[in-house]
Symmetry: C2
Subunit: 485 residues, 2 copies
Amino acid sequence: MENMKQIFEPRSVAVIGASNNIKKWGCIIFGNLLLGEFRGELYPVNPTEPEIMGFKTYRRLAEIGRPVDLAVIVTPAHTVKEIVKECVDARVAAGIIITSGFRETGEEGKKLEEEILSLAREGGMRIVGPNTMGIFSAPASLLALMGPLRLPPGEVALISQSGNLGVQIVRWGSALGIKFRAFVSTGNQGDLSSMDYLRYFSKDPGTRAILLYIEGIDRGSLFLETLRETTKTKPVVIMKGGKTRTGLKAAGSHTGALAGDRFIIDSALKQSGAILVNDTEEFLDLACAILHVPPPKGNRMAILTRGGGWGVVAADRCEDSGLAIPPLTDAMKGELDRFLPPYWSHANPVDMVATLRVEAYNDCLKLLARSPDFDGLMALSAGTGPLQAIIREPSWLSLLKKSEEETAEIAKGLAQLQDNIFSLIGELIEETGKPILPVSVRFEYVGIKTFNGRSIPVYPTPERAVRTMVNLMKASRALGGPEQP
Amino acid sequence: MENMKQIFEPRSVAVIGASNNIKKWGCIIFGNLLLGEFRGELYPVNPTEPEIMGFKTYRRLAEIGRPVDLAVIVTPAHTVKEIVKECVDARVAAGIIITSGFRETGEEGKKLEEEILSLAREGGMRIVGPNTMGIFSAPASLLALMGPLRLPPGEVALISQSGNLGVQIVRWGSALGIKFRAFVSTGNQGDLSSMDYLRYFSKDPGTRAILLYIEGIDRGSLFLETLRETTKTKPVVIMKGGKTRTGLKAAGSHTGALAGDRFIIDSALKQSGAILVNDTEEFLDLACAILHVPPPKGNRMAILTRGGGWGVVAADRCEDSGLAIPPLTDAMKGELDRFLPPYWSHANPVDMVATLRVEAYNDCLKLLARSPDFDGLMALSAGTGPLQAIIREPSWLSLLKKSEEETAEIAKGLAQLQDNIFSLIGELIEETGKPILPVSVRFEYVGIKTFNGRSIPVYPTPERAVRTMVNLMKASRALGGPEQP
């Protein structure tokens, strides 16, 4: 556990191999640290470039003459051993070895990696990597990462055994509105492994949810124990690569104790309280919901839809996923009759059919969310009423040949509708403590959206909303819901 | 078959129930016809509004005094019977009954629907609907639809048993770059059914691919026969709703001959040459590919990736879907060694690891696409090299403290890279006749993109690219590929 603080909240960072040459990673890493606005001391080390991006350069680590918490190493593989030696001599607490060309390339690289690690171990220096894409850490504004990203601080930690996948998940997640506390690309895990990071974030009070991409698991029983402890208080979502023979081969030499049968691994992870997801979008969809929506207290779902087909698709997916769609009581039908045209479905899914009365959607939302008969609600086509679509065709209203004033008034009224619906969903989640997942059926309009200070996730399809609802149920323990079987 | 031409290519259309009141569907439908720029004669019919959106209004159909091919009926249910009578008297060839409140609401509505249909049948008038959201037809620029959409003409026909789902699939698909020949919301299918439309589009020379959303199937064996005939020349992609008890109930009264066991239905549809998809995004993903990418001639795939994790995820998915990832020959390894850093994976997936040489991706693409060892290629992270990411952070290059001129030069060079990669993919598809599916791993960058006049589909995740590749194999017969088992 020691030295973890110097990795994720260092006061001073040296970049060994920093450069002004954009064709070198040392340039991109140093630029990214500046982009991320690291608040501590920053020392570029390079024997030949006297100044890097406005910073005085040190020819060697020893020249810095002040304490360095963290060294980011971006020099060729054959130089790393010497550099780690210098780090140990300078009492650097931890190193992030970005450099590739070690264990992942075969026997020779493996030997070199082991020599380096043993030097570090003896010197009390902890190592991230080697062959890592680096880390992001919000509390230190530390973007010691190969990806040039601007990241607002948040409460989600991502630990990824693949750097490229991890960086792109962070970028994509950020575009969806997920805010990260930290990201770490674990690389070859020569010293620190996924388990160490998991343990660190499980105790970090600023981390509220943990995402993990793993390929192999070393020290299986210890990992599972750590997982079990963590999931008691924080949701842990795991995406596992290397499930098949082909995938495992591609994952390389991760042949830990748990690299056996995929079903045994999956079930061990689930029993430890983690939520397993099967693909990238499921990973991100759940991450969008996990801090913003409470888990359902049971499996009884209401579905509100503007058209039959989406209701059918959602109902199919619910039944296949173990969610129930209970029938409406007569009392509920009577209430809904007040808002809806006579030809509404009179059943759950509540199909409003083609009513144009814009308040009707909101009236239905309130009734269904507040009903004791349902534990959660899927709000389909929330953002896509026909009148809303008219605003996106600005020329349309001019067809009405009304005065400019009247047209502007209509446009304004229509524009408010969509926000009103999403605002209301945020309010109802807060009021009822139930999950309500809106579906926009517009691929450009997904992710976490904020209305009146309340953030809610919006999904592009009913299928993805249902899948997220099921995963929220699984996250129930860590999110304070009832124990799930 | 008769009168189909008057529906999809009418010379004159009357909108019965047209209005200036935006709270009525008759207003939205009429506005949408204008938005779509229908090229024939357009007659609004309304007994009380003398002028609608600049058009002289007729109080009754009979007043028009000129031939009307198609009547779009948007008046309350209880008026429709009388209107259909008037249509028959005026020898209107076909009607689109938008109005709801018929069979879908119970016995009384069913009786009314049957009376109307029998009137129409006797009068030789064909009916779309009732309870339909209408149609779009590119050859006539006809947007007789409840959805206000601007649609460029294309070659894909969508037949949907759900209007709302269909309209939103069309909107979403259009945003992804899919161009439609036609869309029809089949409604209650009182007269014309999915099968009739399928038969029409199978013979329509302007239609190259057909998408179907169905819930129930009437006249099962005739439908399957039509399907078998169609799939010999055009790919047909089917998404089926109402698979579960709950979904079927939501789908209402579709209890045709094939509404039995879901697995029997699925297998009958597959045996008829259709490609079955399981969710909305799979439907759209395949639609994006189907006209722009040839089917693979076998199942041997190469995977090119900038980072291990995505390669692992793609390889897993391939193995689980029946695609093979054959090993690289020594000759191929030797060739790739020339472009890649020494620590590349030396295996398929070809993991380039963190090479910054921008031309390397293109070099690898060419080698893998042209190799006789592979039938197709998944190009992962095609749009997300680290240098490309720097262009999206415009402040980044200023960190280099170079002259404005030099910075502009670098930015320009980097900006070209992405386009170059996608252009090359388009060229290689053309040259090799093999499918190459690029993955952007950026959710904002998906759908059909055009570079140098060549359109290619771009996918957000490896999982979705693999799924599409598998579906392309299934579409092989209609797309001119080898027979699939």
